[in-house]
Amino acid sequence: MNERNERIHGVACTFRKVSDVFHAAEKVRDAGWKNWDVHTPFPIHGMDQAMGLPRSPVPRLTLLGGVTGFITGCLLTWYMNSYDYPLIVGGKPYWSVIFPFPVLYECTILFAAFGTFFGQFIFNRLPRHNHPLFDLPNFARVSDDTFMIVLEARDPRFHLDESRNFLQSLGGQEITVIRD
């Protein structure tokens, strides 16, 4: 138990105003931090840019899912209608791109939705049952009236004392060390 508590997750500090946390985030970004996060009770427009976050990679999995779905639909209809049990319906060819097109695009949409849904889980690292931040006594307040910046220990820039001082220089209050 004691040994586990030696491992440090990171350092957290709180802010009381949107403009403070916004400008602090810009400074953390400019200092080159990669593993850090901002917690706010509501979305702050422009925070993505202030944090230097790239676009979400989820759309790539959506596209991959869509292409997979289209191909799956083609194989499905071709296998059933033209290969396994060739059947003429309404004088149409065994297989063409026209008559099964509703199947093809429905499969495209379905698999693209799967790609988005499961891609979101993958990139958000969900499901996750607990998080070290939940042990912070004042963490519940970031869903109420407080903003929080957390610098994580896995970032190569992390050094306990320097990071603490850095947060202090940004104007952060209630600087707390979070243990795993």
Binding site: H45, G46, R55, P59, L63, G90, G91, K92, I98, F99, F101, P102
Partner: protein
């Protein structure tokens, strides 16, 4: 940034008008000469040119009302340009479609169901066609002319109301105009939808009156919005480089226009394909002939020119814009969005050609008793000239309006939200 005022553009309105009037005079002269020689193709150029701009402006009228009803925060900055442009909608119908419908020679040439002596494939006259007799409660000349006049009236009224109260707000700063325009738009959307559906039935579907598609109005709506958005992207790009949107149009505005372009590209494809798919599946001769003449020669079974046009619609008008617009960067990088807008604009012209031009022309010597109007003729240039002509008139009215009204709706309650719009 140019040193001249952002409104220096408006001084050019007379040049636009001159180009428009000269081009339309040439097109009408060719149409007149063609009709004298029993050739309707030049008259169809007038129809294609008028319908192209009617589609653009109907799309803008609908977008104006839709953004009003949904209180779209991004819209006011861009919507003012639509409000300035839709002044041209009744004018385009009045200068293009009304003369075609009301002058008997042109009416008979364009809408052959109005000419009882017109010979159908097979050698029968239109006047003795039982299909026309059955449809005559709707397809009779008197009702047809009343409807054409109604299109001018309804679109003219909606455009006038939407413009009037929006412009009034610039001077009297009353928020009540926004509520009033909200109410007008709520009534105007279904009214506009019915009117544009009837316009598409009368001006395009009835060109080949044996054929019918209940999705035709929705197809025309989808095409209208696509063309309206393409023109909006091109126009706002131009206006943000030395015009009144310089420094105001931002990435988020492009993004929202790009998203709408993507949505309506998919919607157009969905409607166009569904129309084809239902006719293909049901396989009823009264419906399939419309697609058959657009694919192959009836006697030989070989693909004709229209097959190439339909392939262009699938790959050039749907797949290319669709795949490009899927990418986020296409929607925010000004040059890329502009390129897609041009692709959609060209595709829209091709789609109008596909719908308006091909018809079965009686020919006793042909094996099947008819020939199909070819695609590749010199009249394509006349079509483009007609588009330039009507476009000149539309933009002359736009620039003249811009010189008299505020080009930014400065007292719209949502103007700050619109200017500071972000993703």
């Amino acid at each position: 940034m140019s040193t001249s005022s952002p409104h220096a553009l408006t001084a050019h309105w007379k040049k636009f008008l001159a180009v428009g009037v000269v081009a339309l005079a040439v097109v009408w002269w060719f149409a007149f000469a063609g009709v004298q020689h029993h050739d309707n193709r030049q008259a169809l150029s007038v129809l294609v040119g008028a319908l192209f701009w009617a589609a653009v402006l109907i799309g803008m009228l609908m977008l104006t009302m839709i953004t009003r009803v949904f209180d779209a925060g991004w819209a006011p900055l861009i919507r003012r340009n639509w409000e300035l442009l839709i002044a041209g909608l009744p004018v385009v119908i009045l200068v293009g479609i009304v003369p075609l419908a009301f002058l008997p020679d042109f009416r008979h040439a364009v809408w052959y169901w109005t000419d009882p002596a017109h010979i159908l494939p097979g050698g029968h006259e239109v006047g003795h066609d039982p299909i026309l007799v059955a449809k005559s409660w709707f397809l009779n000349e008197k009702f047809f002319l009343v409807r054409i006049a109604l299109y001018v009236g309804v679109f003219g009224l909606l455009a006038a109301l939407l413009r009037r109260w929006s412009f009034a707000q610039d001077t009297d700063r009353t928020a009540g105009h926004t509520h009033r325009l909200h109410a007008v738009s709520a009534v105007g959307i279904p009214l506009g939808a019915v009117t544009l559906t009837m316009l598409a039935f009368d001006c395009l579907m009835a060109l080949s009156y044996h054929w019918f598609s209940t999705m035709y109005g929705v197809w025309f709506f989808a095409l209208s919005i696509r063309l309206a958005l393409a023109v909006t992207v091109i126009l706002t790009y131009k206006l943000s480089h030395g015009g009144w949107l310089d420094g105001l149009l931002n990435q988020a505005h492009r993004h929202v226009l790009g998203c709408l372009m993507l949505a309506f590209t998919v919607f157009w494809a969905y409607i166009s394909f569904s129309q084809y798919f239902l006719i293909y599946t049901a396989n009823i001769p009264e419906e399939t002939f419309w697609y058959n003449i657009r694919e192959f020669d009836a006697a030989t079974g070989l693909k004709n020119e229209w097959w190439g046009v339909s392939m262009y619609l699938i790959f050039g008008f749907f797949l290319l814009p669709f795949l490009s617009l899927l990418f986020y960067r296409t929607k925010i990088v000004a040059g890329r969005l502009l390129a897609v807008a041009w692709v959609i604009l060209v595709g829209g012209i091709v789609d109008l050609w596909f719908n308006a031009i091909p018809r079965q022309v009686y020919d006793k010597s042909a094996p099947e008793g008819f020939v199909v109007t070819p695609f590749l003729t010199s009249s394509l240039f006349l079509d483009l000239l007609a588009i330039v002509g009507f476009g000149g008139v539309v933009f002359a009215l736009f620039l003249r309006g811009a010189s008299r009204q505020e080009t930014i709706p400065v007292h719209d309650p949502r103007i700050l939200e619109s200017i500071n719009y972000h993703e």
